[in-house]
Subunit: 388 residues, 2 copies
C-alpha cells in the first residue's frame, strides 16, 4: 500500500447511512447477544450470505417499485450485481444451492440489507434484518416453535408487556367466503383490513366500499385484527405488538409454503418471523429502557511514575486473568487529574493507582469513582471490592 | 411487497463471495466471541461504520492499483459511492467526524471489506477485517497494550506456539543510516528486507544490489527479521507468526502517528494491529484445530403421538428455562427412525421421547445417541444426565 497525501475527508456518512459509535454499539451487541441466545436455545443455527449477489438473483422478485430502491451496478468483470435487498431471497438461493442440507432446516440470519429508501421518512438505507425460519415442515408444531422463539425473545429483551397476535390466512379466506365475497377479491380485501392499525375503521370501510363491497358484506368480515397484507402467507400469520412502552409492531411473520418455490428456490414449506432489530435497538436507546453501564471497563489503572509501570502492568494482567475488565491508561505523561477525568467521562467505576508506598507494601490504592472514597488494598481485597 | 413468479434462481454466489453455512459459522462465531472478549478485557469498545461511503472518502487514499479493485458506482441520487475497502479510512473519517470523542480513544472494529481481487489467488472479494487501535497517545505504554491484546488473543484462540516479532522503524532507519546508505533509499531498502519471509536471502540481496547497494553495505544491514513494507509506520512495528501449526503471519501492525492526518483525518498519533480473522477461521476449520461440537443443541425432543405433544412442549420449555439447548422436532407426522437420523446427522447428543407410559408416570425416555443407551428418567434426572 502506497501512502497518498489526501485532502480533508468528507466529514459525513452517506445519506441514509450511519456510524455506530461505542455507546450505540453496546446496546446493539447486547440485543443481538440475547436474541442469538434464544434462537440457539431453540436449535436455530446462524447462516450468513454475501452482501453482493448476481443481479438476476435479486431482480424480478420484489416488484418494480422495489427494484427502483435496489443498489444495482456492474462489477470489474462487467457482471450485473446488486447489494442484498432482504434476507429472504438470499435464503431461497441458499436452499436451492445446497439441496442436501438436513431438513427440517432451522436457520437464523442477522445481516444488513440495502435499500435506497426515502430518508425523509426516517428510514435508513443500510438496516439490519433478523430472520428466523424453519424450512421443510408443514406441521403446526413448527409454527408453534416460531411463536415460542418470539415470546422468549421479547421476554429476554425485557419488554414488560407485549401481545403476540395470531391469525390464519385460511380463517380469513373462510370468513371472506362466508360473507359471500367473490374469491378473486379476497387478497384485496385482506390488504384493506390490514390497514386498520394505520387508518380509522371508517376509512377502511370506505376503501372496501370502493372495492365494491356492500355494507352488509363489510359488517360480516369486519373483525379480524391481524391480516398482514403480504401476499405470500399461506397459513398462520403472526405479529407482535409491544404495548409497554407503546412502540407498536416489532415482529411479523407467518407460514409461506409457496414462497421459496416462487422465488426460484426448492418446493419446500416454510414458516418464520422477522424481528425488527434496528427498531428495537433504537427504542431501547431512545427510551433508555436498559440501565446498561456506560462502559464494560471495571478498573482504570492510572499510571504516574514510570518507575512503577511494571507493577501497574502486572496488576492489570493479574486482574484480567481473574476476569476483571481492566484498562491501563495508555500514557504515563498525563496528570492524574486528567486520567481521573477520562475514567469519569467513560463511566469507569474504579481507578487503581500504584505509587512508591503501594509498590513497597505490595498493595494498591483503589478509588471508587462514584463515592470518591479511596482505600489501600491487597490484590485480593481489590478483587473483592471490584466484584461486589 | 407484491409476489412475483420468477425463473429458477442462479445457484451460485458471485465470484469471490461465499456463504457461511451453520457449520462454518460456528467457528467464526466462536473466534469472534473470544477476540471480542479479549478486546473488551483491555477496554476496547466496538465501532461499526457503513458499508457504503462517499467515493471521495475512499479515493486518493490507497493508490491507483488499489482503486481498480474498489467497488465504485453511482447511487439513485447520482452520488458517487463505494463499498468499504478497509477499516482504516472509515476509522479516520470517524475520528474526523466526531472530534469530541474522549481521547485516548480505543476501538475495535470487525466488519467485511470489499476488493475485486484476483480470485485465482484464493482471495475473497468479501473478507472480514479485524482492527484494534488506540488513538491519541504517543506513549510506548499504548504499544505495549496492543502487544498484550495480541498475546491474549492468540492464546485464547489456543494456538500452542506463536512468536510476536517486534521491531522499530526508528531502529531500522538508524541501522540503514549507520551502514552509510543514503536517506532517500531507506524505505525502498526496508521494503526489500520485508520480502525475506517470501523470498530467499540470495534473492533479496540481489534486489538490494539492483537498487545500488554494495555487498559491504548489504552485510551491515542484513539482519532485521521484521521490516513491514508499509510506508506509514513511524515507530514500533509488530507481526505475529504462528509456528504451530505452521500457518505464518496472522497479525500485523505498528505505530502510525502520521496516517490519520495524511488520510485527511485529525492530527493524532495512533498504534494498533490487524488480526487476520478470515485466515484464522479458515485454518481452524481446515486443520480441525478445535473440537467444537457439530451443534449447540443438547436435546432433540422427538414427537410421536399428537396426544403427548403438550407434554413434550412443556418439558422442552422447562429444560430451556434451565439453560439446556432443546430442539423440538417440528413435525409430529415423521417416523421416529427419521427423527433419530436427523438428530444423528446434526450431531445432537440426546433424544428425548414421551409416549403413553412416560406421560402416565410423569417421566421421559432419554436416548444417548453416542452409546445408544436408553433410560427412563424424571426431569431432574434428565437435567443431570444432559449436563454431565
Amino acid at each position: 500500500m502506497k501512502l497518498q497525501t489526501s485532502k480533508r475527508l468528507a466529514l459525513k456518512t452517506l445519506k441514509g447511512f450511519r456510524d455506530f459509535l461505542p455507546e450505540k454499539m453496546a446496546i446493539r451487541q447486547e440485543v443481538i447477544r440475547r436474541l442469538k441466545n434464544v434462537f440457539e436455545t431453540y436449535g436455530f443455527e446462524e447462516l450468513q450470505t454475501p452482501a453482493l449477489e448476481y443481479a438476476e438473483v435479486l431482480k424480478g422478485k420484489y416488484g418494480e417499485d422495489a427494484e427502483k430502491l435496489m443498489y444495482l451496478f456492474k462489477d470489474q468483470g462487467d457482471r450485473e450485481v446488486g447489494l442484498r435487498y432482504d434476507l429472504t431471497v438470499p435464503f431461497a438461493r441458499v436452499m436451492a444451492s445446497y439441496q442436501d442440507l438436513p431438513k427440517p432446516f432451522k436457520r437464523y440470519q442477522i445481516q444488513p440489507a440495502y435499500r435506497a429508501e426515502n430518508t425523509q421518512k426516517g428510514r435508513y438505507r443500510e438496516f439490519y434484518q433478523c430472520d428466523v425460519d424453519i424450512v421443510g415442515s408443514t406441521s403446526p408444531l413448527s409454527d408453534a416453535e416460531i411463536l415460542g422463539v418470539i415470546n422468549d425473545a421479547l421476554t429476554s429483551l425485557e419488554f414488560p408487556s407485549f401481545k403476540i397476535k395470531v391469525n390464519s390466512r385460511q380463517v380469513l379466506f373462510t370468513i371472506i367466503e362466508n360473507a359471500g365475497i367473490e374469491k378473486g377479491l379476497a387478497l384485496s380485501v385482506i390488504r384493506s383490513i390490514d390497514k386498520l392499525d394505520k387508518k380509522s375503521k371508517e376509512e377502511v370501510e370506505q376503501e372496501l366500499k370502493e372495492k365494491g363491497l356492500s355494507q352488509e358484506k363489510i359488517s360480516k368480515i369486519f373483525d379480524p385484527t391481524l391480516a398482514r397484507g403480504l401476499d405470500y402467507y399461506t397459513g398462520p400469520i403472526f405479529e407482535t405488538q409491544v404495548e409497554e412502552p407503546k412502540i407498536g409492531s416489532v415482529t411479523g411473520g407467518g407460514r409461506y409454503n409457496q414462497l421459496l418455490k416462487t422465488l426460484g428456490g426448492p418446493d419446500l414449506p416454510a414458516t418464520g418471523t422477522t424481528i425488527g432489530l434496528d427498531r428495537i435497538c433504537d427504542v431501547i436507546e431512545e427510551l433508555n429502557l436498559w440501565n446498561l453501564p456506560k462502559t464494560k471497563v471495571q478498573v482504570l489503572v492510572a499510571v504516574l511514575d514510570p518507575k512503577f509501570i511494571n507493577e501497574s502492568l502486572k496488576v492489570a494482567q493479574t486482574l484480567r486473568e481473574r476476569f476483571v475488565t481492566v484498562e491501563v491508561y495508555p500514557d504515563e505523561n498525563t496528570k492524574l487529574d486528567k486520567q481521573l477525568k477520562y475514567a469519569d467521562q467513560k463511566g469507569v467505576p474504579f481507578v487503581l493507582i500504584i505509587g512508591e508506598d503501594e509498590a513497597k507494601e505490595n498493595k494498591v490504592t483503589l478509588k471508587n469513582m462514584e463515592t470518591g472514597e479511596q482505600e489501600t488494598l491487597t490484590l485480593e481485597g481489590t478483587l473483592n471490592r471490584v466484584k461486589s
